[in-house]
């Protein structure tokens, strides 16, 4: 079982990103479980969502505290929250940032990948240039970064699950998939 924790800000679509990835992983034959951090969401405040992907039925239901993979949807969170808390040794991190993994200077025990999801989302007309909706771009980058889900399944899930601008969201995912940078 792979456990994933997503960090974003209220309104960016972290919960939907988690659901899109769950649907994509399910379509590829996995059991999945996706849920938001059980809190009271406020727009702009740090939020978390959780995703588990397994070959068999998932019986654990508590929040993910020791993830294999962490996804950060908002670059400003890097300075604000301890997003590596509990992350397993050799765990993976995917960050929405214009920087490269080398420039981020995170501990080299983690596998870090970067994608400029904000720029990609803005270029695809998702949200506004100052507050782009990055969740679908992040899903595309996750497919590249993790190898846990295929980009085609992610794009199908986006078209099924995202009611607004499904084609542009799907194209953003593909663009992010193509421009994800590994360390």
């Amino acid at each position: 079982m792979i456990e994933i924790r997503l960090h974003g800000r209220g309104g960016q679509g972290s919960v939907i990103a988690s659901k899109i990835l769950a649907v994509a992983a399910f379509e590829e034959g996995n059991w999945v479980q996706s849920f938001p951090k059980f809190g009271v969401e406020r727009r702009g405040a740090p939020v978390e969502a959780f995703l588990r992907i397994s070959r068999g039925k998932i019986l654990i239901r508590s929040e993910v505290t020791e993830p294999d993979f962490v996804v950060v949807l908002d670059p400003s969170l890097v300075e604000v929250i301890d997003f590596t808390a509990g992350l397993k040794k050799n765990g993976a991190i995917l960050i929405n940032t214009p920087l490269t993994p080398d420039e981020l200077q995170l501990p080299d025990t983690f596998n870090v990948t970067c994608v400029d999801a904000s720029r990609i989302a803005a270029e695809h007309g998702l949200g506004s240039p100052t507050s782009p909706i990055v969740n679908t771009a992040i899903c595309g980058a996750f497919a590249k970064s993790s190898g846990l889900v295929g980009i085609d399944a992610v794009c199908r899930a986006i078209r099924d699950e995202v009611p607004i601008k499904p084609e542009k969201n799907s194209a953003a995912a593909e663009a992010a998939y193509a421009s994800t940078i590994f360390n």
Binding site: S18, K19, A22, V23, F26, W31, V32, Q33, S34, F35, P36, F38, V40, I58, L59, I60, R61, S62, E63
Partner: protein, 384 residues
């Protein structure tokens, strides 16, 4: 068709598949998704039902009472303080023998304000006369709502399907959605013999004097006794139709067990993992999932637990001044057995606190290592 659904939408799908004709509800977190989705279904025509917006949960229950009395299959949903506000009308629904089905998403009662999982809300409605069932995953949410109409309409009792806030209500996982044809074959249309009908005027719910009241209430109690068989039969028939059988309880590895863990709702899932781990380490441990709380399945509980020496009950609830409610009910079901097992009672996970496999393992170890249980419940997972 398999879809990744949140627990609340699994309930909405089940209501649609059950061809409910009237829905009335007042929003409250964490239930609101259920009726939002049903409102959409009514709006786009995929569900041919009247959706009634009301000003309170009391009115929601009053209006489904009226609809059901008029011979219409109806539905509502609530949580916590909303359910508490329905209390008077819950008695009415059961006393009037109306087969209403509702979902209660188990949430803690305020104060302090808390929207998270806790069974105190529905267990406080224990004596209203409703059938109460507690379910473990999103598939069981969908399956149980469909079964609930079958059960309710056979015994003419209302049914409350209860599941944990957030751990199911807001969690997406795969759910097998049966076809409408398959559900139609399983659940016949609702055709009550007696209902409010202007063409055939009758008097309903009149003053009942002391010389009749007791008999009416005896029938209510007898209906619960009959429901024990009907719940079993319905769960078995559901299994034959859809490949997923259910019962009053689910007993796993109880036959040879020295110690049996008793759980309800989502705490059951991690307890399965703990049972497997303990078995691998040579402990004969079983698991009893309490799917039905009212009517209380005394015989099924005795059959499952009668042969073991220790029972460990985990309650996500508390009767203040007494302790875990499932543990208490269980003790009264076991007390007259010749070799009644010792009942160890634990309270955990109130107000949405996580109950992890580690927590359950801690309770299991304590139970295995302790000769005699304490009189009260032991609170677990507390801050130091």
């Amino acid at each position: 068709m398999k879809k990744v659904l949140m627990g609340n939408h699994a309930a909405s799908w089940a209501v649609q598949l059950s061809r409910v004709k009237m829905i009335s509800a007042y929003p409250i977190t964490p239930q609101t998704h259920i009726v939002e989705e049903l409102s959409e279904m009514c709006g786009d025509g995929s569900l041919d039902a009247k959706f009634l917006k009301v000003e309170s949960e009391h009115s929601a229950m009053a209006s489904v009472v009226a609809a059901q009395a008029a011979g219409v299959r109806s539905f509502t949903a609530s949580s916590a303080n909303g359910l508490a506000l329905m209390h008077e009308m819950l008695h009415w629904a059961a006393g009037a023998r109306l087969p209403i089905v509702m979902v209660n998403v188990n949430r803690a009662l305020a104060p302090g304000w808390n929207i998270w999982a806790d069974q105190g809300d529905s267990l406080a409605q224990r004596d209203t006369g409703w059938i109460q069932m507690y379910v473990e995953d999103n598939q069981e949410v969908l399956d149980s709502v469909i079964q609930a109409y079958m059960i309710a309409e056979q015994v003419r009792l209302p049914v409350m399907i209860c599941y944990d806030a957030f751990f199911l209500s807001h969690t997406y996982e795969p759910v097998d959605i049966p076809s409408q044809d398959a559900v139609d074959d399983f659940l016949p249309p609702y055709t009550p013999e007696v209902f409010l009908d202007p063409e055939s005027p009758r008097s309903f719910y009149p003053l009942v004097m002391p010389d009749n009241y007791m008999e009416i209430r005896y029938h209510l109690d007898q209906a619960h006794t009959r429901a024990l068989d009907v719940i079993e039969e319905t769960g078995r028939h559901f299994g034959e139709a859809f490949g997923r059988p259910y019962g009053l309880v689910e007993a796993v590895n109880c036959d040879d067990a020295d110690m049996i863990m008793v759980t309800s709702s989502t705490i059951t899932s991690p307890a399965r993992l703990v049972m497997d781990e303990l078995r691998e380490n040579g402990h004969r441990v079983g698991l009893l999932k309490m799917r039905t709380f009212r009517p209380f399945p005394v015989k099924a509980v005795q059959d499952a637990l009668g042969g073991c020496s220790k029972v460990m009950v985990i309650d996500r609830n508390c009767s203040w001044g007494k302790g875990g409610i499932f543990a208490d009910e269980l003790k009264s079901a076991l007390v007259n057995l010749p070799d009644s097992p010792k009942v160890f009672s634990y309270i955990a996970g109130l107000g949405g606190r996580s109950v992890t496999p580690d927590h359950i393992m801690d309770m299991a170890r304590q139970t295995l290592d302790t000769e005699m249980p304490s009189d009260g419940s032991v609170w677990k997972g507390m801050k130091q």
